[in-house]
Each structure stands twice: as C-alpha cells, then as structure tokens.
C-alpha cells in the first residue's frame, strides 16, 4: 500500500501548492487592487491612523488634520468651512473623498509612490510617516470676494490668471461645509450626508466645473472670434441687424432682446453688435461663416475637450449636424450649445492672453512636511485660439461692451474692464441664466472671470447678465487687481 500512499502524498503536495499560490496571489499580486477597492475600511482606518497632509491656500491651511483621541487618531477639519469646499472637497470615513482630497489622496495620505524615497528615510529614521501638503493656486482674497459677491444666489464664479491658467477663485453656490462630513460621529455624518443628497438645490454639485449651461450671448465672443479669424470681417464690418430674423427654412423668427433693429436700416457694425448684444447680427454672421468654422473656433477655446484641473471638468459642447435654423440659434449660444462657467472663463482668459488659452489648474505644488517642493505644476499652453491681432480686436469689442454696452455695471473707475454679458433662456417661462465673463486690466490682464447666476434673469431679457452677473464679476476683479 506504500505506492498509493506516496501518490496520495503527491496529491496532497499539489493541494498545498494550490493554497500557497492562492495566498501569494491575494497578498502579493492583488494586494494593491484590494486595498484600493472603494469602501475598504481597512485602508480608510490605516489612512486615518497617520497624519494627512494639509491643503494650503497662500500658506494657510484650508484642510488640516488635527489629533483626536478616538479610534481614528486624526480628525480632518476645514477651518474656513464652506469657502473652499468646491476646491478641497470632503474627506469622509463613510463617504470617501472628493475634489482635491480625492485626486491628491495618495499624496496627502503619504502612500503615493512619488513619496517613496521620503518614506524610505522615514522608515530608517523611525519617524511616523506624514502625508504631503498640497498648495492650491486659489487667491484667498479673490475667493472670498467671489463667495461674498455671489452670496446666496444659485450659481458659480471662476477666476483665472490669464497668463498661466492658475485658478484664482472657484465658488459654487449653494455649497456645503466639509466639516459636516469629516466628523467622527458617524451617525451625525450620515444624517448630514442624507440631507445634502436629498437637498434639491444639489449643494454637493460643483457648478463651476461639472454643470453645463447654455452660454447665451457670451457665446457671441466665439462667433466674433471666428468671424475676425476668417479674414472676412473686422470690428467695423457692416453686418445685418434687423429687428427680427426669419430663420431659414422655417416660419419662426429670431428677435432681439430689445425691441427694434440694431442699427439704422437694419444694419450695424460687428463691434456695435457685440456691444448691444444683437441677436440677429450674430445669427446671420454665424450662418454666413457656416457651422464648421464656428465649431472649430469653439473647439480651439476648449469646447468638446475633457479637462482635469485635477477634478474632471465636464466637456462643453457645440452641437454638430445643424440645419441653418439651428445654426442661427447656436450662434447666439442657445439651442444645444452647453458650457461650464470654467469654459467661459477660459474664453475671456484666452482673449486676454493674446489668443493663447492656458490649461487651467488648481494645484500649484506639492510640498513635504518641511515645505520642500516635491512637484509643481508648470503653466501649459492649452491652445492658440486666435491670433494676437484678432485677440486685440476682440478686446476692443469687449471694452466697448463695458464702456457703453450691456456690461456697464462692471465698470471700475480707473481700470479698463473688457467683458461680455449673457442671458440664456433654458426653457419656456423659466427665468433665464445670467452670465458675465470679463478680464481686466485690459492693457495688462491679471484676472479673467466668469460668473453664472442660475435663473438670474428675472429682470427680463438681456438685462439679466448685465444687472445680476456683471456686478459680481466687478467685485471679483476688484479683489484680483488689488482694489
């Protein structure tokens, strides 16, 4: 019977080999994937057991881990509460993390491979490993001005440094207090989360980057850019501007936001059309340029392209396959044209920067606990949207809007502000969205901004962008240029 016992021994050896292979697979090859699984409490607990790095704005922590005496050891707190929620996101034991807390999670928690050598020295010297600090591009003054200017209105404000693409302000309203989600009293956290999720005004939504709105008349900047770039137009070119335009192949007419024609004899110049936001003029300019030219110009400003700032930004879109009537409507930012506030800020920033659109970014650099820089973001050219010649012509046209057009309420004494209003209809009988996008000072732009107020056009017609959004942009610009 010894031979079969020996053979049985081989079977046993094979069985044990299978176990060794399985444990090795799980604990070596799959370990990382298992640890990275969403909802893995062990990973969370171990990340709570070490000090997470801070998120800084201008050297001050807007998200910081404080020692706590419970089982989680460190409590994540947000000293400024709601002000930076859109940028920092939350860091919750129950609900994971969002925004920078999530995108820079492994660096903040100190587990990133980028920190390998630093961690290695920590192990050798026996120091408790600490997460890296993330330094944001936000400007505290601009951010606070944007927040207080927007106030309780539903909407968003984005401010960019036109020369670098650095995001100086990002505010969305209504927002939430990340402290409510980071607490260690999990029942309270759960209650807070449920009320945030059930809130119909969606406070967790970042309206600056994640929500698409019809851009309305602010889109006329892009049609203007396409027109000037085509070489067939200058700001002084005469364009049709009747009181209303009969849409080709339909019986409907497209009116202006004000009653009457845009100029004597139903004609006007391109610059004046932008100044008074003449719908019929831009509809006909769009029709004569053709949808390919308008779409290509929109794309050069960023439409249709996925961005990560590091949070992913919803891609704005200009529709394809339009019939002439749809193209006419699209040319004034209606029909199916969709844009994020960040996208419209990029349009202004690109014009401000001589036609060169910079890639927007929110994280300036990452530093270790001695504040030595581990990595930093270099400004990157996103695209050259228009020539510097065209950019300069567009600037002149935008200055006219603020000087004497629909955007006069953005005027700042002694500062040249270039801007464009927008009032976007998004449904029959609903108040329109109010837009304003601008940059200043015109001769040496330091800040480009986009403001959106949802359903802000209650004053009726084009007045929405000029009366509701422009004053907000003005306060943000004032903070940005140090006034």
């Amino acid at each position: 019977m010894n031979a079969p016992i020996r053979r049985l021994g081989l079977v046993v050896a094979a069985m044990f080999c299978a176990l060794l292979i399985a444990t090795t697979t799980i604990q070596f090859f799959q370990a990382k994937a298992l640890n990275d699984r969403p909802g893995n409490r062990r990973t969370l607990l171990s990340s709570y057991a070490r000090q997470r790095g801070s998120i800084l704005v201008g050297g001050n922590a807007v998200a910081v881990s404080k020692p706590s005496n419970d089982e989680y050891k460190w409590l994540r707190t947000y000293p400024q509460g709601t002000t930076y929620a859109a940028a920092t996101g939350y860091y919750s034991f129950l609900y994971g993390s969002s925004a920078v807390e999530s995108r820079y999670g492994s660096l903040l928690s100190g587990t990133s491979d980028q920190l390998f050598y630093r961690r290695f020295t920590d192990i050798v010297t026996g120091q408790k490993p600490q997460g890296a600090n993330v330094d944001l591009t936000l400007d505290a003054k601009v951010q606070k001005a944007a927040k207080s200017a927007l106030g309780s209105k539903v909407g968003a404000v984005v401010a960019l440094d036109p020369k670098t693409g650095a995001i100086l302000a990002m505010v969305t309203s209504p927002t939430y207090d990340p402290n409510e989600l980071s607490g260690h009293d999990l029942t309270t956290v759960q209650k807070n989360w449920t009320s945030l999720i059930k809130n119909t005004s969606r406070p967790l939504l970042n309206r600056a980057t994640s929500e698409l709105y019809p851009p309305g008349s602010t889109f006329k900047l892009i049609v203007s850019a396409a027109a000037l770039s085509s070489g067939k137009y200058t700001p002084q070119t005469s364009v049709p501007g009747p009181a209303s335009l009969r849409l080709p192949q339909t019986n409907t007419t497209l009116p202006n936001d004000f009653s009457g024609a845009c100029g004597p004899g139903g004609r006007t110049t391109l610059i004046h059309a932008l100044e008074i936001s003449c719908n019929t003029a831009f509809a006909s300019v769009g029709l004569s340029l053709g949808q390919d030219a308008v779409a290509a110009q929109a794309q050069r400003f960023g439409f249709g392209q996925q961005l990560n700032i590091p949070m992913s930004v919803a891609a704005s879109r200009f529709p394809t396959g339009l019939d002439p009537a749809q193209l006419a409507q699209s040319s004034i930012g209606q029909y199916d044209v969709q844009s994020t506030p960040l996208q419209m800020a990029m349009v202004s920033a690109g014009i401000a920067n001589g036609g060169r659109v910079m890639t927007p970014y929110l994280v300036k650099d990452v530093r270790d606990d001695n504040l030595d820089v581990i990595s930093s973001t270099d400004p990157k050219l996103f695209s050259t949207a228009v020539s510097s010649q065209v950019a300069s012509e567009l600037k002149t046209m935008m200055l006219a809007v603020v000087d004497s057009g629909t955007g006069t309420r953005a005027q700042i004494p002694g500062v040249q502000v270039a801007g464009k209003t927008g009032t976007a209809q998004h449904g029959q009988g609903l108040p329109a969205h109010a837009w304003f996008t601008a940059f200043a000072p015109a001769d040496n732009p330091k800040i480009a901004v986009a403001v959106l107020v949802e359903n802000g056009g209650k004053y009726g017609a084009e007045a929405g962008g000029g009366s509701v959004a422009a004053p907000i942009a003005k306060q943000v610009i004032e903070a940005g240029i140090g006034r």
């Binding site: 079969p4 049985l8 046993v12 299978a18 176990l19 399985a22 604990q27 370990a31 171990s46």
Partner: protein
Amino acid sequence: MSSSFALRTITPHTPRTRRGVELLLLAFAIAIVLLAYADVGLAVDNTLPPDLLTLGIGFGVVALALHLLVRWQAAYADPILLPVATLLNGLGLVMIHRLDLAQGHHIGQGAAVRQLLWTGISVLVAGVLLVVVRDHRRLGQYTFTFALAGLVLLLLPLTPILGRNINGSRIWIGLGPLSFQPSELSKICVIIFFSGYLVQKRDALSLVGRRILGFPLPRARDLGPIIIAWLASLAVLVFESDLGTSLLFFGLFVALLYVATERRSWIVIGMGLFLAGCYAAYLLFAHFQVRVDLWINPFNPHLSDQLALGLMGMGSGGMLGTGLGQGHPDLTYFANSDFIIPSFGEELGLVGLIAIIVLFAIVVERGLRAGIAARDGFGKLLATGLGFSMALQVFVVVGGVTRVIPLTGLTTPFMSAGGSSLIANWIIIVLLLRISDQARRPTVDEPGASAVGSADTQVVKSR
C-alpha cells in the same frame, strides 16, 4: 566504515527515540507563542500582558507533561507532531485573544478563555487516550462499533432537542450554554471504520470484478459501501447544509479506497460520483448556488461581503503583515473561527501565512510518513486517513477563504475557536503518535506488541 559493518551478520539497529529533539522543538514552539502573546499586549495596550509569566509557566507545564507522557508511553513516536500541534494551538489562542481585545473584552473574558479551557480538556483527553490505547490495532477490532458511533455523531444534530441550527447549517448540538460540533469526532470514528473495513475487504475490492470497456469495475456488492458513503455525504449536504463535511467524508473514503485497493478506477468512479453529487446539489439548493456565485464574484454587492472582507484583510496584510495587534482582522465576521486564516494573513502577512500552511503540510506529511512506515495494513490506512483528513480540511478551509474552491464551513485545525475541533485534532495527533511509535519501535523491545502484530505484519503487501 562500510567494511566494519559488513563483518557483522546482524546489525544491532536501535532507532533513536528523538525525544530530545521533541523537547527542544517544544520549547521553541512555546517561546514563539509567548513572544506572539507579548507582542499582542504591547501592540494593543502598550504593556506586556500581566499574565504572561503565569500563562507561560502553565503552558510550559502542560506541554512538558504531555512530552513526558509521550516519553513514557510512546518513546519512539514521531518527534515533530507534538511541537507543531502545540505551536498551532498556541498561535490560535493568541489570535483569538487578540480578537477578544479588539471587541473590548479583557483578559478573563471572551472566546480565548473558553478556548484555553478546551485546550486543557483536549490535552487531557489526548493524554488519557495515549495511555488507554497502547496499540492502535485494537481500534481495528471495533470496526462496526465505530461505524455506528460515527453515524450517530454525524446525525445527532438532526435530532430535535439536541440539534442546533447556527448560521444556516445544522451541524451543532447544544446542551445549555455548551455547543459542540459532533461531525469533528464523527470524522475520526469514520476513518477508523473505513480503515478496518477496507483492510478486510481489500482483496475482494481489488481483485474480483469485471472489465467493462477496458475499465475494471468491482462487483455490485463491493460497490455498496461507496454508494453508501456517497449517499451519506449527500445526506449531510442535504439535511445539515454542510458542504465541507460531506466533501471531507467523501474525499476520505475515495482516498482510502484507492490506497487499500491500489486501483485508480476507484478514483475515477469516486470523482464521477462526487461531481455528479455537486452538480445535483447546485441545481437543487439555493444556498449552494449562492456559495458558487460568491466564489466567482466575492464582491457581488447583493451577496454577503464576508469573503470580500477577508480578502481585503489579507490584501492589507501584504507581504509582511501589519504586525500582531496592529491590523483590523475584527472587521471580518467570524474572524476567530471560520476566518482565522485571513486574520493571520492580515497580521502576519504572506510570510506568516505561508509558515502556517507549511506547518499543516508538515503534520500531513508526518501522518502519511507514519502510514508508509506502519507495519500493519490497518495502521497504514488509519495513519493515511488521519493525515489526509487534515490535508483535506486545511485545503477546504484555506481554499475557501482564498477562493481556490467555494467557501464552506469547516474549522481550521487547532486554530479556530471551538472545542470540538480542538479535541478531534488532538486525538488525531495522539493516534498518529501511537502509529508512528509502533512503526519505529524495535519489535524485540515489546514482546506483547509484537505478538499481536507479527501475524498481520507478514500479510501486508508492500508495493
């Protein structure tokens, strides 16, 4: 050197008892366990456990007593088995204690105290058994008594008053606060019965029969026991919902049948019946389908996340583990019983878990080795059966939590919290000690034993 031996006509070969090695290994095993215990105390409470010394002395005294008993009663027994069992038992205790602490229990409360008590009882039972069963061949004389005992123990949980249904399986009996899993003891009875029965029937089973399509088939009446074993394991599966035990019993029977008859056809037949049984069970029983679903997709959000939690625990342990007391094995349900292996994987890492699996492999290997060395057919089958049952059980348990096979409920030998399992496994160790002692003992030493054994020894065919 060889020439000096060649001059002698009779080589006076006295095998060394190796008891010194056993003592040394035992001391080593106890040292590891105490180190682990101290480690847990330091990690969880930042101090050495207050009872480290008393517990250490107690543990040492018990182990030493068992060693002395082996020295006296089974001097030639395998020296590896006792230390390995002690180490596994001790590590299991430490982990159960560590999980008690995680649940807020203090020393003197919780599952570890019960397990310590059961360890004492098990060692006592083992000692008594070592004294009472002077020769394992005596067990072979009570073949059908053990068959009956095995069957009764197996079916006991189905009785209305004693039986208890815990976590969907009816494999427990309970009296007041005590609960017991009789299938663990039943397993040993059944191995003894199989060994005894097969030694008597092996010629009939292996030689008589017809070839059908070039495939040697035994006679129908010899096939009977296989069919009965198959039906019994199916019955366990159906009425007690105990997949692990039915797999264990059936696997054991096929293996022993193969060893006894040396005919591979039994394996083919056995595997065929097993697969047919599994397929039928899969079609018939929802809980079996759930197990298979969970095996294929452990992260299925609609099923239990127990397996997933265990896997994530093992993943967080990685190569070297979090260290005893520093992981979160308590996040997995049944962390101290069914899922004690993932608990070790998390805190001792891949390295520690491999060491534990290898320790089990050593026990199995020593069991099979005792089978090869045994001089009688009954002893060969018994040792092989005991060793293989350990291998199957470890395979089913560890394979279940590591997704080699679907998860079934069996205890991890020596480690899982639970008295029945501990007693059964210590009995297995004692029986293996006894068989290996008989195998290695010089026949001239014990006239009584050789008188019983000599007649059998000559009929054994050793191929």
